[in-house]
Symmetry: C2
Subunit: 232 residues, 2 copies
């Protein structure tokens, strides 16, 4: 895995925070040395270390490049709050599969209620660094009934729903897709009714039984393949 | 997740071993109660508990059903030995995605040398139980140079290789596919030369950077989708 850092761009410099500065020290970088940095703006920067301080590091930008094409369509993933070990794995894999943004909601069957997004953000940044995803995804809270209806696919493995492949073919050419997944124990009766009465596209993934996080990773893989999002 | 057990069929009875007997006790099952069991033969058995002993449990078969269609093509996965946390995650997801059999080999860049397959087998059985995969996959050791050439796809993310989608279209209709993945740090120069001089089909997955286990999960997802293996 490439050793890439995460910083904030301030004018023509990039500043690493305390955590990233610790990372700089662990990897034994010294002032004057070159390092690669992402800031979330889609570019991969080559920088030179100006100063390694106690709580921050200052980098001078030497060069910049676009490490990948833009992945189209833009995919937002709406995740029902579930236990952290599963959310963590899911988030990692979804960043690797180049989901563009995340929304976290509390479903009626959610067993947990997250109050802040710090550890989610750290996981997203860490995976973005390791796999050089220069458009670092954002994550925000959302209310269940604010999930948008347009261009939205709801993953609900009920056999009576359409299969994902069919719905992806119908939505081909859209600029933006929303993928909605329930929490680990799925949607409540009331939530399902909300989707049905509002004509959301609810889909299944065929005849297999999947663990929560696997179904989402599988669905995202298929979205990438069907839409050639990763130029395969 | 359904509560399913794993046993061995002996004539018209199914016997659970010590580990599964402990599981029966944890779930507070009692003699006379009905439980679902898989044995690896493709059937899901409904049984009645005859006797819960110290080290084994005897079950009487009441009914049997075929829980899924056969997934075609048959997929064998050749895995380069890598650290257990990643192998474990990979194996779980590959069982969920219905890989049919596994072969473990020691690659030149393998950092570890497994001597027995017990924990691999336990992971495979555990995931098969949880996701009701009644054709429980087998795992065996194999030598690198015994990897078969016929119908074989080698995952090597080098840009000069064909993309997976193209090769899958070429192989459509085959009864059996072999998917070969290197260990975490990839193939050595000599191993790559072996594939090239023997005209193996080497493929990449597009322009993204993936962690070791993610590339295999992604490739298996695409195989399932392209061949409609899970009836999506």
């Amino acid at each position: 895995m490439p050793n890439t850092f995460y910083g904030k761009k301030v004018n023509e410099e990039i500043i690493l925070n305390e955590e990233e500065t610790a990372h700089i020290k662990i990897t034994r970088k010294v002032e004057g040395e070159k390092v690669k940095v992402i800031t979330g703006d889609g570019l991969l920067y080559t920088t030179s270390i100006v100063k390694i301080g106690k709580k921050e590091t200052i980098l001078e930008i030497i060069d910049k490049e676009k490490p990948q094409e833009d992945n189209k369509p833009y995919v937002s993933v709406y995740l029902g709050m579930s236990k952290w070990d599963r959310m963590h794995l899911l988030l990692e894999k979804m960043v690797e599969l180049r989901a563009n943004s995340f929304y976290l909601y509390r479903g009626e069957k959610s067993e947990i209620n997250y109050k802040n997004l710090n550890k989610f953000q750290r996981t997203i940044i860490e995976t973005s660094k390791q796999t050089i995803f220069a458009h670092i995804p954002q994550i925000n809270f959302v209310k269940f009934d604010e999930i948008p209806k347009e261009n939205t696919i709801v993953l609900d493995l009920d056999e009576k729903n359409d299969n994902l492949g069919k719905v992806l073919k119908e939505l081909k050419g859209r600029e933006k897709i929303n993928l909605v997944v329930g929490p680990e124990y799925g949607f409540s009766k009331r939530e399902k009714d909300f989707f049905y009465t509002n004509s959301f596209k609810t889909v299944n993934l065929g005849k297999s039984i999947f663990r929560f996080e696997t179904s989402v990773i599988y669905a995202m893989s298929i979205i990438n393949y069907e839409y050639n999002r990763l130029f395969i």
